[in-house]
Subunit: 281 residues, 2 copies
């Protein structure tokens, strides 16, 4: 496994593979890797000849009062996981390589960046779109892998990739969960013991909503949203940022479940962490 | 010469050349081609194995009250010029190919898009950056050619290309002028006979400023700006949009000429046309 921190080395490492027509798979990450990332890497490993992982805690996607400084950095363990999963190339640039002095270019994906996490994290998706586009241009992969855990990010990156005519397949990989249902996240480390014990109630609330729709035919989004909020209030506590039921393609609010085109997404502040989760119906 | 209007055909046409390691040169245009465009094409023809020209009147770079509707469309003459200059591939997409329903992604280059033409044409450079990035992703050239006539555009595209880590060389080509000094522009067609007769005074004013600096040592930008405005008022008439002296790298206002890093740029509304011109010191 090769580890590089500059752009020229990425291109040099991949150029012979590209010339041989090999398929290059790319998993962009902010490090603090867990089994969710491992699932992305395994999928890339299955689909592609060459697997590239980037590890870069991207400053432009954090708000001024967010957790950029304390975001977990676990370099040794990240490299061990990548090696174990058969990654070929790790790209870990310093911030000055990605955003040199005078940097001025940003990408916005209108509409899709505004609801859900976009409301409480202004500028977040601009930072995400910009860094992902830069990484796409540096790695020039055939396919890139994103988790459904960050559903809005995945949908927005798909839109950007299509809009900007990038010849890259965007692959969504299902959320990996702990045995008790909590979605894996680098930010789960922020949870104290009591919050960790309560956190599975978020996914429970989403499953109850799915059950209400699929088994009892409850399709009214206001009713389902209320039930989810009540379950979270009773069993998780914390402060709900949002619980929203939106269309999967446009992320627009729904009044009634559209089977095959519905995303139920939530964000909850719980014991020092802001947790997000979602299900698709 | 091949003429295509869809993206798949562009990629199919260029793929064999790319596989053979041939250098691909790209000249993006809005059609209404003149000898300025011919100079770009000739430079690409000299530097590259394959020359691609796009012809697309990009709606997103026109303001709501600008000349999108009446912008000259001269398809037959454009194709004849491309053929004469040895172009290999013309890409002329309909708007729905470039901006399909649901399109949402835009690129902004901060700071560089704000002064000069950016002030009177809000959104213009966002449209330019977005369409050029899309065309770059479709054509994937090794080099792209832009005229110094649109200096702000050239500087902004260079910045975007560097910021977004695109492996494309941006080549600037000197402005081509009529015998009397008027910079060639598709919009010169808008000039009535009297305005056409007066229009060379714009470049005269710029040359007088250069002469004042180079021969008489006048380096005070306020003085030089005043002299340019006076010359235009006396000899061209029309309405000055701006006359500005800025740094070439950052487009920031200068108080005194910085030799090697100065752009004197102007825009003047004259007899139905908005003309721009500039010189570098």
């Amino acid at each position: 496994m090769q580890i590089v921190s500059d752009i020229v080395s990425v291109r040099a490492a991949l150029s012979p593979h590209r010339k041989q027509g090999q398929r290059i798979g790319f998993v962009p990450t902010m490090g603090a890797l867990h089994e969710g990332h491992a699932a992305l890497i395994r999928r890339a490993r299955t689909d592609c000849n060459v697997v590239v992982v980037s590890i870069f805690v991207n400053p432009t996607q954090f708000g001024p009062h967010e957790d950029f400084e304390r975001y977990p950095r676990t370099w040794e363990a990240d490299c061990a996981l990548c090696k174990r999963e058969g990654v070929d190339l790790v790209f870990s640039p310093p911030a000055a390589v990605m955003y040199p002095e005078g940097y001025a270019t940003y990408v916005t994906v209108e509409r899709l960046s505004e609801p859900l996490c976009g409301r409480s994290r202004p500028g977040h998706f601009r930072g995400v779109a910009t860094v992902v586009l830069k990484l796409f241009n540096i790695v020039a992969p055939d396919a890139a892998y994103f988790g459904w855990k960050d559903a809005q990010q995945l949908i927005l990156i798909r839109r950007m990739t299509e809009d900007l005519n990038l010849p890259i397949e965007i692959v969504g990989v299902e959320t990996v969960r702990e045995a008790d249902g909590l979605a894996l996240s680098s930010r789960n480390r922020y949870l104290d013991a009591e919050s960790r014990r309560r956190a599975p109630a978020l996914y429970e609330a989403l499953r109850l909503a799915r059950q209400a729709f699929e088994q009892d035919g409850v399709a009214d989004c206001a009713v389902l949203t209320r039930r989810i909020c009540d379950h979270i209030d009773q069993h998780a506590g914390g402060r709900i940022d949002y619980v929203e039921i939106v269309s999967l393609d446009q992320l627009q609010p729904l009044t009634s479940i559209q089977k095959g085109n519905t995303l139920i997404a939530l964000a909850v502040h719980l014991g020092g962490a802001r947790l997000i989760d979602n299900i698709r119906l």
